[in-house]
Symmetry: C2
Subunit: 139 residues, 2 copies
């Protein structure tokens, strides 16, 4: 995805393209780590001085509705957002710098079948997230 693709999505859904929204989109789309609303605010303010925190909240809300971003759950808090992965992907987070990477290829079929048999549950979804150190932070 790209900044222009996000703006197009917003436009196609009847939302107007404003300076504030461009600043938020450019900030979040380019970030490789999850950002909290305040972090987005501070960064977006450098691109569009007059933006208000309220508008950041409102824009993040819309981006989440359009599935362009997703909330990231971490031990320290669950208020951060990152550009959404495509299809069935999971997050891998660096515990030191916060750098995020998506991965796919998890096959939990055998596990879920076994759990279904053992517990009687019907399993519909799973959340998987890996934590570690990115290449840079290992060094």
């Amino acid at each position: 995805m790209s900044v222009s693709a996000w703006l197009e999505q917003l436009h196609d859904h009847g939302y107007r393209l404003t300076g504030a929204r461009r600043a938020v989109v450019e900030t979040v789309e380019k970030s490789t780590r999850a950002l909290t609303p305040i972090e987005v605010y501070d960064m977006a303010r450098k691109k569009y001085r007059a933006i208000g925190l309220v508008t950041v909240y409102r824009t993040l809300e819309k981006l989440e509705e359009l599935h362009l971003i997703q909330r990231v759950h971490q031990p320290m808090g669950c208020q951060a957002f990152i550009a959404a992965g495509v299809g069935h992907q999971h997050l891998l987070l660096c515990q030191n710098c916060g750098q995020a990477a998506f991965f796919d290829g998890d096959d939990l079929d055998a596990l879920t079948k076994a759990i279904e048999k053992k517990t009687g549950y019907q399993i519909n979804e799973h959340w998987l997230q890996l934590f570690g150190l990115c290449a840079d932070c290992r060094a």
Copy 2:
């Protein structure tokens, strides 16, 4: 674990055993679903009328410190707590009634090795959580 084992743990760590704490412990230890502070408050109040919400927060804090309870992350919020699993266990949650079950036996070694090779990350931890319908809610 049992209520008395939790109380013993609290006592062994220098905490006094009070009516308010007993009420919180009895509530959380017996619950099969994750409870938010307010829910614990409402339930504990039936056992100990005079308890304050503040004491619920403070007691949950201590129980988490002692690893007797753990925070449960869900799409709708991450403020709920449940009796902690033992060893390497993950949660399976009913999307309808909230019923929780622990399971173990997940083997992600092959997956993490592959991801490590592909991404250059060193993987230290993983979060895995399953969602579905419990036996009762399927019917």
